[in-house]
């Protein structure tokens, strides 16, 4: 179950083929795995290692460096509360306090019903709209405690299911390079000369 499905293996191979070195695809593939399972499992790391030709220890080494990868299940909705300077200046501390109270868990915890994981986050690049939060990496701006409450109620009632997918899903659109239009990966060992358009004349 936690290995990639056949359909996802096809996508994984498509992604790997875009890079001159297969290992470059590792982070996108870890995302793919997290999208499928909600978190990264041991079996998944073994399989990804096989796909890109490195040991599972190397996969683990890369995966654990990055904050977005989770190694145990999280709630259906991961709520990341920004607490860096601009948000802090605009009341992020109080909002976090309120959120902990509302959900009945401390930051880092998951509610008993498995719906919400509350987490601290660092700057989310929305500083003028402070305080901000992200639910499964979808933004909410200028959040007041009352806004937070209605957000939780809406999520519980399933009203935002169209906008906010399950944890692990990032972009809902994938890049697809059509076979007849793509150049393909340009590997160092395959190229000895400068590109064709650099001959001193216009390309058109």
């Amino acid at each position: 179950m936690s290995r990639l499905t056949d359909a996802n293996v096809v996508i994984a191979k498509e992604i790997i083929a875009r890079y001159p070195r297969a290992k470059s695809a590792l982070i996108p593939l870890l995302h793919l795995s997290q999208e499928q399972n909600g978190y990264i499992t041991r079996e998944a790391m073994v399989q990804l290692g096989e796909l890109v030709g490195v040991t599972s220890a190397e996969v683990y080494g890369t995966a654990t460096f990055y904050e977005m990868f989770r190694f145990e299940p999280v709630g259906k909705y991961l709520i990341n509360m920004c607490g860096t300077m601009s948000c802090a200046l605009m009341g992020a501390g109080e909002l976090m306090h309120h959120a902990e109270h509302k959900l009945g868990v401390k930051a880092g915890g998951t509610t008993d019903d498995g719906m919400f994981t509350l987490a601290h986050a660092e700057c989310q690049a929305a500083c003028t709209e402070a305080p901000t939060l992200q639910v499964n990496y979808r933004y909410r701006f200028r959040v007041t405690p009352a806004d937070f409450d209605s957000l939780i109620d809406d999520l519980r009632a399933g009203k935002l299911a169209d906008e906010i997918p399950q944890h692990g899903v990032l972009a809902k659109v994938r890049q697809r390079i059509p076979a007849d239009k793509g150049v393909g990966a340009v590997a160092p060992e395959d190229v000895t000369e400068g590109p064709a358009w650099l001959d001193g004349k216009p390309a058109l």
């Binding site: 001159p20 590792l26 870890l30 990055y66 200046l89 239009k181 160092p188």
Partner: protein, 465 residues
Amino acid sequence: MSSYPHAPGFVAGDRPKVVTSRFEYTDSFTIDRYLATDGYTAIRKALSKPAAEVHDEVKGATVLGRGGAGFPAGTKWGLTPQNVWPRYLVVNGDESEPGTYKDRLLMERDPHQLIEGCLIACYAAGLSQCFLYIRGEMALAQERVATALNEAYAAGYVGKNVLGSKFSVDIVLHWGAGAYVVGEETALIESLEGNRGMPRLKPPFFPAANGLYGQPTIVNNVETLANLPWLINNGVEAYTAIGTKTSPGTRMVAVSGHVKRPGVYEIINGITTFRDLLYGEEFCGGIRNGNSLKAFVPGGGSAPWFTPDQLDLPFEASQVGPAGSMLGSGAIMVMDETTDIPAAALTLTHFYAHESCGKCTPCREGGTWLERILTRVVNGTGTDADLQQLIEVGTSICPGDFPHASNEALGLAAVPFPYKMTTICFVGPSAYAPIHSALTLFRSEFEARVTKRITIPVTAVGVAQ
């Protein structure tokens, strides 16, 4: 509360718009809108000239890098060694400097402009493949850029024989997974190779000579590349007519914190001053509730702080540097009179301590020390010795004089930016920058915490632990 898609504080006006010209349209991210507003005309124009000529135009316009260091893009492209192939383009869209969010908007609201900028760069500098690295947390930006790339491939603007020419290049969308340090160019390359995102030592790993897969690699910021279509369409003269000789063009600046209208504004480089931006009616309109300004961070969380004394400085690196700070990534965080300064500094120190990759000891250990010591000072359980300890730990990360602005009241003469450092990249010194600024400018607030044991009630600022 508002959800995405969301229009930030853009103010209409007759100011020149180089990169935000399409932001007023609700469908600014679609290929139809892009084509209807001069989209993909610049690449056609570029392809009708020899690549060297296009390179010269970018060089002649002195397009300064908008990521933080401010190095001119055209010059950077010229640093690649002759006759070493292939060369790569890596687009740095891993924007995560506290206070900054121009690149996210450019990717979400005008992805085709970025794609066209990438094409121009690849054509001019002879780059064979482009990797567009977007920060992991930016799901919408990834979605918009993926859609735009799919449209551009289908229409023949990207891929094999662009517009029927000899120019062929793939643009590969890549996305990160949450690590601030990956915004550093060598760490970005490590991450793109599938490794832990730790910076490489320079030398020997200058990306222009020895970058991705050991090949010459150009790493450019999203905003830098987004400037190129306008530049090629309108010419060097029109570009350099905006701004000053040393800082031509415009730049996007995010102003956040205690101002009336926080927002991202496209301002004129070298001319607009901090006062224009913070108090001007067409920009932020002053400090909230008519309060007075206490201090501001002029260039992202890593920059030493300024006080009202420096408000009249323009957005010009050659003036802001000698005045003791940097323009960095174009992010201003404003603190009004109600701000609890030690607590505000702690939010930034916490950030950098948290984001240390762990490669260099002074940053890995020092950052955590700074955070712990400052935490107890803020909590009112620190001692006098703690303030000295903060400086000692900070000095072990950045030996020598730390840059700061001149301040007559405190008898300080400016020490120019940048600082010396004992780490490979700027994350370590950045943990100390807010502490140094806050301690230098507002020492009495720290002393009140440690000697008189006054716990100042935290109102607006609190660090969540």
